[in-house]
Symmetry: C2
Subunit: 198 residues, 2 copies
């Protein structure tokens, strides 16, 4: 007689890996890490899956495919490494908010060690105004809460158990930073730790 085995928790891997030239290889590598941690990876749908769902509108097909996975996942790990600007990929942040609203744990990592405010200062400049409020050259307030991202995704992760994980990537530009796996490894270790102490 075999012991009953419950299915492994399903982890949705949100992130901008889908935009990499070697997207499939990078996602396969990250999925293997999730499986090695005893979890079931759910990967964002690619163009082929999206077309199968809605041949008339590829974008709508990808959305429907991703939404089905977001609804099915038990937790989400988001790659919030900056994407074409000071902040994370908007699709990834949308998905993080979506899963947070469904009451499932959200974790995140970034290959950029800086606080969001430091990245903005490095990118477009920021200085205190006459009231001591940090502002960029357009006069827009620079949120300076010591977090790796905007407070909404950052606190969502903290409420689920921890700060956004920051582990630097090897040099190699934005694509290498997005493909880096060390932050994901820390997130998976956190999940294992939480399961062990439950």
């Amino acid at each position: 007689m075999r012991a009953a085995v419950s299915p492994p928790p399903r982890v949705y891997l949100a992130g901008p890996e889908v935009f990499l030239p070697d997207a499939a290889a990078v996602l396969a590598r990250k999925a293997a890490m999730v499986r090695a941690a005893g979890l079931a990876p759910l990967l964002p749908v690619d163009e082929q899956d999206g077309r199968a769902r809605d041949a008339s509108d590829l974008a709508a097909g990808i959305y429907a495919g991703n939404l089905a996975l977001l609804d099915a996942c038990d937790l989400l790990i988001a790659n919030l490494t900056p994407f074409r600007g000071p902040g994370a990929d908007p699709g990834t942040v949308f998905e993080l908010g979506y899963v947070a609203a469904r009451g499932r744990p959200v974790l995140a990592y970034s290959a950029d060690l800086r606080d969001a405010a430091e990245r903005i200062r490095d990118g477009v400049g920021a200085a205190p105004d006459r009231h001591g409020v940090l502002r960029d050259p357009d006069g827009l307030l620079v949120e300076d809460f010591g977090r790796a991202e905007n407070l909404m995704p950052a606190i969502a992760c903290e409420r689920a158990g921890g700060e956004i994980v920051r582990v630097p990537a090897d040099p190699g530009g934005p694509a290498a930073a997005i493909a880096a796996t060390d932050g994901l490894a820390v997130c998976l270790a956190r999940i294992a730790g939480a399961a062990a102490s439950a």
Copy 2:
């Protein structure tokens, strides 16, 4: 005897207005437009509200305040006007995903007329690779679906009833674009039209 009056639907106004130097005035103007449309505006919490909720950590207090409003709203209107880069404010996109997951209608507007792909091309450059795939100078794929934003927030709005509204702002730089009200007016007219035909 008075007729029973149902309370007006509550509309959360997500957007980067909170970062403007004249945030309170701009939000008051937009809230007045919502009230004039027969709806009840819910505005993102400011630092004072956040501090009242959690004096030890202002960011956590703001998050908790915003989450209570997101949970309470009947629909969301997001200002997706580009914010410090090619895309929308990440906090706004998080909130859009959050409310979409709760099954409430989400609407959005932008003061930028361009498709997301055009903004990226204008900002960092983009050109087809040898397979005809549009990529930026870092080799990252440029999503080119004819939408004003990343497909996740864009299709979420379309599923709720319509494309992201694009109305140009008067010249005046990023702050003026964020403060512009014409896109919000179109969203409010859509809501009124949907209510009238219901």
